[in-house]
Symmetry: C2
Amino acid sequence: MTRPHLPTTTGLRVVAALAQHGTVSAAAQALNLTQSAVSKQLKAVEDLVGLALFTRTSRGLAPTEAGVIYIAQARVALGALETAAARVAGLRSSRPALRLHVLPILGDRWFMPRFSRFVEAHPDIEVQFSTFAASDTVEEADIVFRFGDGHWPGWQADYFLGREVLLVGAPQFIARGGGIDAPEDAWRFPILEHRQTPLHWSDFAASHGIGDVRPERMVRLGYYSLVIRAAIAGQGLALVPRSLILDELAGGQLVNPAGLGYSSTNCYWLTTPLDRPRHADLATFCDWALAEARETESTAAAQAPLAASQRS
Amino acid sequence: MTRPHLPTTTGLRVVAALAQHGTVSAAAQALNLTQSAVSKQLKAVEDLVGLALFTRTSRGLAPTEAGVIYIAQARVALGALETAAARVAGLRSSRPALRLHVLPILGDRWFMPRFSRFVEAHPDIEVQFSTFAASDTVEEADIVFRFGDGHWPGWQADYFLGREVLLVGAPQFIARGGGIDAPEDAWRFPILEHRQTPLHWSDFAASHGIGDVRPERMVRLGYYSLVIRAAIAGQGLALVPRSLILDELAGGQLVNPAGLGYSSTNCYWLTTPLDRPRHADLATFCDWALAEARETESTAAAQAPLAASQRS
DNA sequence: GAAACACTAGTCCAAAATGGAATAGGAGAG
DNA sequence: CTCTCCTATTCCATTTTGGACTAGTGTTTC
């Protein structure tokens, strides 16, 4: 046998990022590469595989049947590498690295812009992030960020962010649909849902006492990044924690019509294992992350009235 | 976050090959790279990980604690890539590739020297090999090479090779130990065992009617490649199918003292699923592989008397 | 004890791969 | 029609990779 044709690990990351972000340009930002580099890496993987992994549209990319299969295995491979890094980092006799498991949406929209502040403040603490790792590696992590109601046996859960959920959409899209003045107006529009957090719309309806969820249409997407992006593109209304879309709200790409939203019991939590000692670096990181999250939400709260006044 | 430090897929292959082959030079041969390239790739992975993955001795390399962890995840990652390739290959609307799952020892010692003959004879048939893939992918394969007694529910098993098992060792090593004229003489020596096929020595003892296995010492190794290599290095006696060591017997690196060995019911089988149609390419490959295996064993049988006469 | 053998690690250098800047071109929205 | 967002490609500089070769070490053989 000659040398097998394997993709590079950059190629795997590109494929995984494209699945999550939906466009070459957005994936490039997430990967800290240029649009041109990502485009070429995708082409290289597709040439190697011999099939297109994504279809191209003017709005971005969508996985093909082959792409869905390939993306799944790319994630398994990347997860194994995260596991290897995390487990080996745990063996260092010098100060062991902190092992964090983060959800994709938090990695992109919360850690990416802020983590450098932690590094500057604590250059001596090494942090190992995982996103794709399998559940056994997740359980080994020092900190696991989770979405839910805050109850995980064996784990202490500290509220992180996302309790305040807003109904949002692109301004022109909402205007074309006749505007939204009351919660039930939302059902005139297609709505977007993140598959892994499917309860939002029923919570929204329940919190406003408006009966069943009855939208014109519902589109389910695999990543919150894609939900947000589709909302910006005018493909539907979305329910999104305010803290995750501060820039889009400030920039006017998304608006929160009539200030509609609700307070969710399902939100993002910072969890730590109860059966392991809380060593100093872990405590330092938790304090920093929770404080930054509080600051994020203070900023979010301060912007809310401003956004409301811009709406009239 | 800046770009994560991921190993290259070549680095992963190097780490997995080193685990299997025990020396940089042997791994290089298996990978179709030079010793220098493999050495540099290993250094690059170890620099990235920040820990040594192998200890170096004058006889080769052995995994460290970190190495064992890393190797396991490297194999998971490579398995995922094999799965991706196999599943995507199955989607091609043109002639789908044959998906073969091969044991490491057969990949190295049987397919590596012979597969180019198949390619020359059938350039139009694409074959996808896997070795590391997880069990779900194995079950999807068109052909699975297995070691055992030939009974796997749902699979047709055709004898492939390995029924004739020889007691072998390095000539000087055997001479220093006083030679071997009878089966029980083997217990004066350390013996080597492949962890995944642990029954050989008891089968050897039973077939010669010599009671329990009572060697001076037993060393268990994770790969048959390492068993063969350790036998050549004079670290013990091994039981190995004749067909897998024709070159070593012919070259005198290993000898079969007193023609000792036995006929094993546990051997290598070519298995195909009963619940799927046997399409033409599959039949072509099976015919070729079984014919080549027959030829391998004819050659082996023809060499046996010659080796015996060289021994006196 | 010397020679031979098998091994790893490093240097030098050419080739290949990678990524960024820039550009071309397409599609949709305003 | 213009603007915006998008992908794909070209050009080029930089980085990475792998092979040839060498230096050095340790073990085995004679």
